[in-house]
Amino acid sequence: MSWENISIPVKILKPPKELEKPQVDRLWGLIRDAVEEIHQMNASSLSFEEIYWTCYSLVIGGKGDLLYERLIQIIGQHATKQADMISKISDEYFLVILNAKWQQFKLQHLMMQDIFMYLDQFYAKKKQKSPVFQLSMQQWREKVLLQENIKDRLLKMLLGLIHMERNSEVIDRVLMKSLIQMYLEVSNKELDFYTTEFEEKFLLTSARFYHVESQDFISSNTCGTYLKKVSLRLKEESFRVAHYLSKSTGPKLLKACEDENLKEHAKTLLSMESGCLEMIKRNKSDDLKLFYELFTRIEGGQDSIIEVLVDFVKAQGESVVKEETIKEKDPSDLISNVIGLRDRCEILLKKSFGNSPVLAKSINDACVYFINLNDRLPEYLCSYLDRKLRMAFKGMSEEETNLAMVRVLQIVRFLKNKDVFKKFYEHFLAKRLLSGRAISEELERLMISKIKQACGQQFTSKMEGMFLDMKLSNETIDGFKNYLSTSGSLEKLPSVDVNVRVLTQGFWPTLPAQKALLGEVLNSYCNIFTEYYLSAHNGRKLLWQYNIGTAEIQAQIGSRKYILVMSTYQLLALLLFNSTEKLSFKTILQSTQIPAYDLMRALQAMSLGKIKILKKSSRGKEINDDDIFTINRKFRSKLRRVKILAVLKSETEPERNRTREKIDEDRRLLIDAAIVRTMKARKVLMHNDLIIEVTKQLNSRFTPKTSLIKMRIENLIDRDYLERFENERRKYKYKA
């Protein structure tokens, strides 16, 4: 439809004229009467529609100003009247009456809000004045709540009631809520009446209350009891907020409460006789949990717990890893204690510290500290594992075994010198594999897979190589036996069940290849095997290591036959007695060519241990050149199969030193490689930067000493890999 040719019905749409005075007076009179009725609580007879239209007419008629001004007046008068009345009420009924009057006033002015909707919308809003209801709230605030006989009395009584409630008396929470809500309802954006007139004072009173209470309570109770009380108090205050305070007061109130109860006494709580340290010492995980929960609420609380905890772990750790704790050269207890301490930390972390990542890291750092205090710890770990593996984790279920391994690996992860662990583990593994004793391959492989997880693929490559060698050796020996039976070379020789392990150099801890005279029979077998093996693997070289071999022989001593299990060296010595009765140490040494130290140990085991196959002429443990050995004809054993064990030393000093030397040698090579790699990439580098870079590269294996790196740099300069700058001695250049 077009807007052309339209006659506008002007009649109805006359612009509103300014109202004449008599008309204004009449309309205002209606409104004044209505408001009066409302204030008298006689509103039930009032018609909303009528009053609304009256108000509408006044606003439309341009009399908004007049209406608004007169309303302020009339509401103000009403509020003053209420204040006069309330202020005269005795203390006993003061709060109840004040509340009743307030509720009434609110209801009345909600009705007013209805009537003056149009005034709010089109007068107040446009002139940026408060809507009518806010006007009412403002009047109540100024005329009633700030009245001198009301203001202080109200606050004092409210705070008094809260104090009573804190002392376990029952108070009228509904009344509290209504009155405190009143402070909030008369507040607005510009004027936060609740905060300034109530909250600030309430927080002060609360702080004072807890200041007194906490000092009193802490002096006569244990830390645990005190904390329980505080926790309860905090809960009560939270409930208080929920029941009758503004939500926004919650954090402030709790902070005040925490400050007085915890922060003020933090030092005492940490160090008192029943405090944090004691709880850790005595594994009081529940108390400690509460301690942690409460302390994490205050500033710096977590840090102070960490400090106590870390000091404890370090001190405890220091005493656990002390060399002196080792009894009879058995480091199992030391390792058990290390694992135990670590476990204890783990349990505390879980039970008391909510698995906090921050605490977990601190605990780990403390563990790293004490675990690396003892240089020999990596070796002890390996010896501990060696015992466990040799006994196939006896008495443990699959799950427990797994757990035991995981625990050890946790310690391994903390080692700075993982290379030492690696070397010794390889050493022990080699011994286990070559001992001839049955081993649990499943457990060995499981352990290695765990090490691999913790330390990486490269770390375990040699260990896996050893297993491969064992497997290939089995195949080789099967083939060899087959060859023996078909080639006919056996005919001239007595039958010996020969077993040879071919070990790839590089996988196995290198031992000095030592010569010994094998005797005719064994020598022949060795030669045949060498021939056989080299025909299949052209170009390889075999080096015999008699020192780690074992043998089983049948022997008749007296009237009984025994199977004797012994080392190859022992066998060589014993075989000599087939042709003579008596032999001196010197003669044996010459006849066998076994290194003197090894031979001494071999003979000691046969003449001084539980199983005495040989008799030694002199008394005492020492063996002299002139000592004469004879077969012990009185040897008796209930068992038919007799194991002659090596002298009880799982790891002898020379062996240990050899491993140590090997580790040092490996380290030198690794440092050299790292220096050359770095310099090749960077060409020119300052001394300090080079040290940092090399240390960084090697950290996953071991922590190189700066002095050692310096030595290697010097060495590389001598070997013409690097050179110093003429004018700047701390600067290196790579020589291609």
Binding site: V10, S44, F48, M117
Partner: protein, 142 residues
């Protein structure tokens, strides 16, 4: 099968005595128009108070079933109801200013704005100056 939009459903209630709970007597002609308090209250705070606020006589006595609206013509009033029910604005040049006037009075903000825009958009120099002034006046009020 489509689902009928709610405004189409509600439109069937427009001036429908069925289920109506208020009767308006509109204009000088005193035409009876039926309304539904719930729907009206959603659109205007005035009606909401009038029909539902227990503080006042109207609801207290539960007697409100007739409301006299003498200053608006029935056609304009119906288009106000239609807006309240369906949120659709149907105004003609004839009713436009009356609708605007009523929307203001009943504090129907959205309707007022929509009508005002409609009028100002369709205004041209051939339209009555009177219309223009009245409209501006009401806009001023807003």
């Amino acid at each position: 099968m489509g689902i009928t939009p709610i405004d189409q459903k509600l439109k069937t209630l427009l001036n429908n005595p069925e289920m109506a709970d208020v009767q308006f007597i509109v204009g000088k002609e005193r035409i009876e128009i039926y309304g539904h308090k719930l729907l009206l209250s959603v659109s205007s705070p005035i009606w909401k108070t009038m029909f539902y606020s227990s503080k006042w006589k109207e609801v207290n006595n539960k007697m409100i079933s007739k409301v006299e609206i003498p200053d608006i013509d029935p056609e304009s009033f119906l288009s106000i109801l239609e807006f309240a029910y369906t949120r659709k604005i149907k105004i003609t040049p004839k009713t436009a200013l009356n609708v605007l006037h009523a929307a203001d009075k009943f504090l129907m903000k959205e309707l007022k704005e929509a009508t005002l825009n409609h009028i100002l958009k369709n205004l041209n120099n051939r339209t009555s100056l009177n219309t223009y002034e009245r409209a501006l006046d009401l806009k001023e009020h807003q």
